[in-house]
Symmetry: C2
Subunit: 413 residues, 2 copies
Amino acid sequence: MTAPIHINGDRLWQSLRTFASFGATPGGGVSRLALSPEDKSGRDTLREWAVKDGFSCEVDELGNMFIRRPGKNSELLPVMTGSHADSQPLGGNYDGIYGVLAGLEVLRTLNDLNIETERDLVLVNWSNEEGARFAPAMLASGVWSGVFDTDFALSRKDSQNVSFGSALTEIGYQGTRPAKSFPLHACYELHIEQGPVLEAEQTDIGVVHAAMGQRWFDITLTGFAAHAGTTPMSLRHDALCGFAELTLAVENIGNDYAEDGRATIGMVNVTPNSRNVVPGCVTCSVEFRHPDSAMLEEMEQALIHALAKLSVRNLTFIADKIFDYAPIKFDDICLERISQATEELGYRHRKMVSGAGHDACYINRVAPTAMIFIPCVKGISHNEAEEIYPIWSEKGANVLLHTLLTAANEKAC
Amino acid sequence: MTAPIHINGDRLWQSLRTFASFGATPGGGVSRLALSPEDKSGRDTLREWAVKDGFSCEVDELGNMFIRRPGKNSELLPVMTGSHADSQPLGGNYDGIYGVLAGLEVLRTLNDLNIETERDLVLVNWSNEEGARFAPAMLASGVWSGVFDTDFALSRKDSQNVSFGSALTEIGYQGTRPAKSFPLHACYELHIEQGPVLEAEQTDIGVVHAAMGQRWFDITLTGFAAHAGTTPMSLRHDALCGFAELTLAVENIGNDYAEDGRATIGMVNVTPNSRNVVPGCVTCSVEFRHPDSAMLEEMEQALIHALAKLSVRNLTFIADKIFDYAPIKFDDICLERISQATEELGYRHRKMVSGAGHDACYINRVAPTAMIFIPCVKGISHNEAEEIYPIWSEKGANVLLHTLLTAANEKAC
């Protein structure tokens, strides 16, 4: 029995450092918005590296980049991996780009070791995953998977009224290939967890079997604004006090559906928001996440129940459900290859659920798909302070290497 | 026994209608900021009316207007009444101006009935009570009472960087008389309640024996911002959930010290205030009001206790006390005259505490002072929808008439 092969951790880390310079911010993060000059610099470098290593690089009509390392039998369905190179406005150095560069490192390692796979391997860099410049998020992978159509994507505008289409042309990344899915044997996305669980449990690898469904609400609570000095407590209809009860009720809903459930109020606006006025109106967001649709439905019902109880305070409410995103269940066979690779490498791993959305959630609609997570420090992400350790990076790429090798060497579908 | 004399309710109402045209807003209120062109129109009209009725009108260096109806013996200390003509940016038609015009109506009624008082009667229109244009509130009455000095007042600037002094010169109301108190036998301010109590209790007159002390705090609660999808409930340090507990604790403090106590959180800001981020920081105001200093101290201690309990959520807090204003106790003899007048007129009345600040709170430092309240509809004030009924207006002015008559006919001290 020989030791399993490994990727080159130093080279991968160096690749990450190079990309950290594209849009580097004073705070140590990156600002690499989709289709920006900084994004173009990253894309150019990725293509240059790919071509230099002998891989082809094709770009589709939404700027999605497909880097291909041919296998022995191009008639077999290819195996895909990848993620995205765009970032939040003040993002970190690993969200998305880690999955792209670890995929490249796998291809390079196979070159180094002269390993030929049965199937083609395809590395993808999806455009505009973050949605920070062009809403919604996961726009180009969504088109590729049939969720949105191409014209919808091209017509999305940023805050400066620049369309996705014109920004794409501006950076020279509008290809001719249709942004339409092609058959895959399997697809993997390797990503940082963006949460604190793996680090807290000192676990190397998350085998991501599901992504949470999400339900988003906009809530308006209305009472009556009144003078804080002249209005006795007994005659108030204080919307903020009702909101406080709602906040604790929402937290309790999250706790009731832990550990997989999440319940969050992230956004609050108080009217008139004046020190000396009893608040007459509060608007807030509520969001629930859970990998099980039935549990999400229960959480929603619990919210409505909590809102109805505010009538004892003489408050009225409006609850608008503005987003309802079903849970994702990843492919069992894809997951099994990850678990097997992790065990062969001797790494600590656990099954887990992705709380965030990822390109893989859309790809899963058209191809057998799964995700691999590595820890990130304190779970901090979408933040310049986002950090991982080189050893975490290396272990994740090793798992990706063996997972892809297994899949790409399977001769039958 | 003859029926007590009455003011002319129709004339008073017409005066109020005329002043409602100075800065009238589409919403039916007024925007008559201190020292604005609209304020000047009101001042000009007030002076014109006063002079036409044979009263003198003196203006001091802060634009405070003193309209005098001489008594038989000008060596006796005068009796003063009045309030302010400035308004909030979207204010109502009665806050302040009612007390000025009811005072004028009393002087006119005495002319009509050829009644000569022993003492001079002085009607005052204080500059910049609201503080909406030039902070702080009650600025000119504060100088007059020795709380602030004149240069401080003249140098206050509005949001357009215009100073009080230059705005005063611009409208032609910078007089030469020093803004310094002169001895008074008694001072009365008649005002709308700006709260809901008198209307709710169907009571005509509030005999205001005290004004609440106020303690204002700025609070910062700090937890840790985290991704709402990837951060399990158990690993959150959610500043908003802690804020919710604080809000309910503050409400409970208010209830514990009812009916005179008030506890309000009016202003809240959440960071980063994003739908998908567990809030890392919440700042808010807390204010307590109570007519008893010892009770205010207990309320403050209860706040600190409530904040300390948030440590179980791994939240830290900062509490800055930014304002500490002692309770005001009005003059017993002044109050007795109001009660007596009200009973002679056969009006329903109750003792009450002012929850808001008024010019009279400062005047009380240098002269025997008290306040008279009339109801306002639903307690709405600082709002275009502020409303009173003519009968309420008339009854308040009748009480003022008899109160002033009693005081102004006292020959001794």
